[in-house]
Symmetry: C2
Subunit: 354 residues, 2 copies
């Protein structure tokens, strides 16, 4: 069996006995019943995922996956492709949004070159960026498959490898992305896997105007017509209209779920990765925490499909893992509520009238 | 002039020059324009409020105001009135939701006895609770005014005093409440100050069923008919259908705004305090950060009236300041974004096509 097959086969759902134990404690907290709402739901999930009470979440890392996209030549982004390696260098220097927000959240950041169309050996050689480069960017999906099926497997397995290499040091993972033009493959993926029209799930990305969005939709429709990805086969979808960083994110999710560790999924591109992961290993959805609802059109469609309700809704559309970093505060809060808030008995507080 | 009049007269709006300076920096960050959305809006507010860049927000405190309510005898809460002093003791021991979430957010908690119907001298004597007790709980507003006008002034001024006493040690304040039955006066306040029917702005509080909610609405309508609070006079509204902790919260907001310090307003009861504050000093609204949208019916009506959009929406309905504690993470994130994220020039990243 391949690493992907082996890892997918390890994934089981949340543990119901542990969930029940968490629920028994939460029902006794000296507060009106379930008055901390969705943080208590999240507390149940964390205990069910990690099989521990308190659920361990203090050692946090966000894995930011970078890759380039041949489809960028179609003019689907406001930014030139050079920005991908420039932003990777910015991540290494600590000046990007993800660095700032991860520092605040006590969360490490690991940057992975999944397929940036530039030589990053200076950064990977010093160990500042993890080298999992599959190729120098994908091919243009508007003219043929973005990558081969072998490359798609390689991308997903690279994500699994990164998680396995970090697993001893971290309790919880977050996902992030960097890749000029990567909302375009992400919209294509959600269109294929949910059956929606491209126009329903394609947004402004880095700031396109109406005319540019219409052109982007046309590019996506051309890619779908030329490649005819099979919606029942996640690897086919990834290879036809995906990206290396999107495959890597799918691998991170599969790898985390196999280890019974929660994974905080960032925005639009990361959730495209989650759709690929779910297609390859449906139980991964039980380990996903949806960080936020992006401004990007189609993110809600993705989250409904995964049956994941986002924690935050702040009009974010940066990616990099920034929403995941912000959500880490709420994850930590949920873990503490389930273990640190006193019960009626511990606090000597009278309960509600029956 | 009274302390209240003096303090209200000090309040001016956010500083536009400082806001413009913050906007100039945020426009240059090496991200797609305004891609961190509402956190960038919040960054502008913080700079406009504090007149500083970076805006100081690291020294945080939540002021949790406790008081009892004569209207509790009408059976409007699931919990007995004894729970108010029991929860105050729980706050002092550090076992309540607010303690857990404030610790996580690096935020101190100051508990104030504004009018608990119990002798708290053991706690106030040791300095564990600040003694601003106006009376041993309010009178039953369903039979007459909750308090005298002098007591209403006293409650608001107590909040101002607490802020003034803490001002040298803290950059930012949060509000919180504890008081069995206090959603009932809060619903009455929002009904009076927004002109809505009580039925539109009255919810389940600590967990009432439909019949109990109907009875609670009838109690509020009786209080409004008997007392006829004047919607143009915040002190009249507070005295007729308010509470001591609600007046104290209004005072905290007025006091913070006068010092140009941001104040994170928690849930339904705290926002009732914000409505009173706005009625007494309209510019306070420019210093308010709405922490979250409570489960409690009517909270959205309040926030619309204040033109404040909440940061979080997590089905919380605990009070104590728990939502404010959670929102502190996002406030800190906003402050860091405006000062720590690199600009295109600093990061040597190419900008968008024009």
């Amino acid at each position: 069996m391949s690493l992907l097959e082996q890892t997918a086969a390890m994934i089981t759902g949340q543990d119901q006995t542990w969930r029940n134990q968490a629920r028994a404690r939460l029902d006794q907290l000296a507060i009106p019943h379930w008055a901390l709402g969705r943080l208590m739901d999240l507390g149940l999930d964390l205990v069910g995922q990690t099989r521990a009470l308190p659920p361990p979440v203090s050692r946090k890392v966000i894995i930011t996956m970078a890759g380039d996209h041949g489809v960028a030549v179609e003019g689907v982004s406001k930014f030139p492709q050079d920005v991908t390696p420039q932003m990777v260098a910015n991540f290494v220097r600590g000046g990007a949004g993800i660095n700032v927000l991860a520092r605040q959240a006590g969360t490490d950041v690991v940057v992975v070159d999944m397929g940036v169309a530039a030589d990053l050996s200076a950064l990977t050689g010093r160990g500042e960026v993890v080298d999992k480069k599959v190729a120098m960017g994908t091919a243009n999906m508007a003219q043929g498959p973005a990558m081969s099926r072998e490359e798609a497997v390689r991308a997903v397995e690279a994500g699994i490898e990164v998680v396995n290499e970090l697993a001893a040091d971290y309790d919880i993972f977050g996902t992030g992305d960097m890749g000029i033009a990567n909302t375009t493959p992400s919209s294509a993926i959600v269109a294929v896997l949910t059956g929606r029209a491209a126009a329903e799930v394609t947004g402004r990305g880095t700031g396109l105007d109406d005319r540019q969005v219409a052109a982007k939709i046309a590019v996506i429709n051309r890619a779908l017509e030329i490649n005819r990805p099979n919606p029942a086969d996640g690897l086919d979808v990834l290879s036809k209209v995906g990206g290396f960083e999107i495959g890597g994110i799918a691998g991170v999710i599969i790898g985390a779920a196999a280890l019974h560790k929660p994974v905080v999924v960032d925005g639009f591109i990361s959730t495209a990765g989650a759709l690929i992961a779910q297609s390859l290993a449906p139980m991964t959805a039980e380990y996903i925490i949806a960080a936020h609802r992006s401004m990007e059109n189609g993110h809600g469609v993705m989250q409904d499909h995964l049956k994941c309700q986002p924690l935050l809704d702040l009009n974010l559309r940066l990616g990099e893992g920034t929403g995941a970093a912000l959500a880490m505060h709420l994850v930590e809060a949920a873990a503490r509520i389930v273990s640190e808030v006193a019960t009626f008995e511990e606090a000597a507080v009278a309960g509600a009238d029956k």
